[in-house]
Subunit: 289 residues, 2 copies
């Protein structure tokens, strides 16, 4: 097990149009007692205030792809968000942060998802504890390329909380309240851990492992098909060989040609059109703890 978790960074607005996290951070800054826990020192901040003001994901480049060590150590930075990333990195170091919680939302129907990067045993145990409190929580393991590291990768321990479906620029009250509850559970869990509880009651965990990123059919840069209506909002549902995947603008269905059942997530995420991602295929795994 890891040492005690003392210093937490709880962050919203890494993407300026993901309002759930922005307004939760504003709430916690207004009412700090809501997130006070005796063993924790919690730093809250809004990562990209200028993007939040503009109600855009980012101003010049996606902040949440600017955190590779190489990029942070590069002396010649060009984009607004690259400079911002360096400041955030320093803030995270100054706080001697043990664990980062980064709040996101998505236009995909991902409910309450906790995204972990790796198979660190502490991550498994903590999220297993959280899913025991709320079985609707889904756990996604998503390794990003080293050259595009995320904010939460600045520390060994960390999660993104990804909630949806909610449109960019929109506050959905039900999702706001569910995310708030999840954060309280998470902080309570860290507090229990610091008091010696190692979540031994949790023996297994269902986890969705990203195995492939699927782009839209395209001619040049332009997409030639849309997510099939049967697949829209079906994140975490099984997709079987032969099931509808896309429908072209002409109305022709494109079927899933793979050999095995997968569980798509990030289906029709607005911000991923420009990244060449129509959805991510995952494999469903049972992890024995």
């Amino acid at each position: 097990m890891v040492k005690k978790i003392r210093n937490i960074a709880l962050i919203g607005g890494t993407h300026g149009n993901e309002m759930t996290g922005v307004y939760l951070i504003k709430k916690f800054q207004k009412y700090p007692h809501l997130i006070e826990r005796s063993s924790l020192k919690i730093l809250t901040f809004l990562a990209n205030p200028r993007a939040i003001e503009a109600r855009q994901r980012y101003i010049e480049t996606d902040l949440n792809r600017c955190f590779s060590r190489e990029a942070l150590d590069e002396p010649e930075t060009f984009f607004y968000e690259q400079i911002l990333a360096k400041n955030i990195d320093q803030k995270i170091r100054d706080h001697q942060t043990d664990l980062i919680i980064d709040l996101h939302s998505t236009t995909s129907q991902m409910g309450l998802t906790i995204i972990i990067c790796d198979g660190h045993p502490f991550h498994f145990q903590l999220v297993a504890y959280l899913t025991s409190l709320n079985p609707n929580i889904k756990v996604l393991r998503y390794r990003y390329a080293q050259e595009n590291l995320l904010l939460r990768s600045l520390t060994e321990l960390g999660f993104a909380i990804e909630v949806g479906a909610v449109a960019q620029g929109v506050l959905d009250a039900a999702l706001f309240q569910q995310t708030e509850q999840l954060i309280y559970h998470l902080l309570d869990g860290l507090e229990k851990y610091n008091q010696g509880d190692d979540f031994n009651g949790c023996k297994s965990l269902t986890l969705y492992q990203v195995i492939e990123r699927i782009d839209y059919p395209r001619t040049g840069e332009d997409i030639t098909a849309m997510i099939h209506p049967d697949l829209q909002f079906k994140d975490y549902h099984p997709l079987h060989p032969g099931d509808p995947l896309f429908v072209t603008f002409e109305g022709e269905t494109i079927h899933y040609q793979g050999d095995c059942t997968v569980y798509p997530v990030f289906i029709n995420e607005a911000a991923y059109y420009e990244k060449g991602i129509a959805m991510c295929f995952t494999e469903k795994q049972e992890i024995i703890l």
Copy 2:
């Protein structure tokens, strides 16, 4: 009745992140025979290509509020969209446009909505015909302030087609196909009209008249409450005195204090946070034709 309708302008991408209209226009430009009708001359274009490329509503100011005659005649224009509006105005004149169809989408659950500005008898008869073909279509009458006139106001006759719920930057295939069908019905209806049919079979029309715009509760500029979960996605449903309207970030419900039942629309439209509109109240009317 009006004279024959010859010249149509069919427009998408007036807001660059409303993808349904953008991709329908691209489809019609690729397959022009789909919208060819013997009595009609149809001009199609994307109104704000630069905003479409940026996947944003607008670059500098909302194009669809730049069409007052005063603004168009103002020699000193400042914003990109103000200049663009003048070009579009000229294009509409050059085509000797009789009727404008402007394609929009919304994050509100407005299904297939046709928005008319006024009570022109031709508008009533045509939309009554369209609702007879598809009873799911809703008709909204929304008068905008003279200083903020819309693109579709450039001609005496015109509609906006407003479809949702769909997130900004997202293509929803089902809505795309339903909107496409509605456009074919609309063009077929204009063709019938030009051939002498005055839609006499349609005797009445259900119409939602915007009577009030409701802002979020705010302290200064900052909102202090969200759309109540019971109201989210309930566009066109009756809202009775005492029903939940908002919920504050602290969890307190704010109830509707009015005296009469209203039918809210544009509930939680992403683009309207900055305009100070949480929803529009409408009155439900039966129009006898």
